[in-house]
Symmetry: C2
Subunit: 120 residues, 2 copies
């Protein structure tokens, strides 16, 4: 049994930070590889546009999950990394990842079930 009351629910706090089409993969990448510069992140997250990457990084920075370090160079160099606070999200990311992995089978059975209708 859970000890939490829905009315006093703090789940949204964590969820708000993780939600966004690209945030989980950005965070996982930074957790794994440590510091990365903008263009490296862009390569690590296939399909993301510059706008969305900037956008998501700004939001994460605003929430104090990542830091942004600008080197006054040309061409520009900007490095991103997790903050201590950001790293505290790791258990949640891990829990979600494990859930997803453990329940891949469940999903496959649903899909298979649908396909079976044609075979019987």
């Amino acid at each position: 049994m859970m000890k939490m009351q829905p009315k006093l629910c703090r789940v949204e706090d964590a969820l708000g930070i993780l939600v966004g089409k690209w945030k989980p993969i950005i965070l996982l990448t930074l957790l794994q590889d440590g510091t990365k510069r903008f263009s490296d992140l862009k390569r690590s997250v296939p399909g993301i546009t510059q706008k969305m990457l900037t956008n998501q990084l700004r939001e994460l920075e605003e929430e104090d999950i990542i830091t942004r370090k600008v080197y006054p160079q040309v061409p520009p160099k900007v490095e991103y990394s997790m903050t201590e606070y950001g790293r505290s999200l790791e258990p949640i990311l891990v829990a979600m990842h494990e859930w997803g992995t453990a329940h891949t089978l469940h999903k496959m059975q649903k899909v298979k079930g649908k396909g079976m209708e044609n075979l019987n």
Copy 2:
């Protein structure tokens, strides 16, 4: 260090189920109180409209997270409860709740920091 590769990320699987303005509180309510009928849920989630509640419940049902039991009565009676599969999300919900609770302080300090500017 994490053992997962961003490219093979299964985080989205769990996230996709949890995302939606009302899903976490619906799930927490069902986890705590067990079976609930539509109108009870509506009362438990203040501010939600019928359409949104129906909507979110249908999505959760579709994902096999909750079950829907209809009693052929008038006025209608429909009961919702978590599936076994749905209950497996509990550790994630708990992890998020704990994170939110533990880091309320962090948030308060940010807000306080901003307010302090006027005081010095």
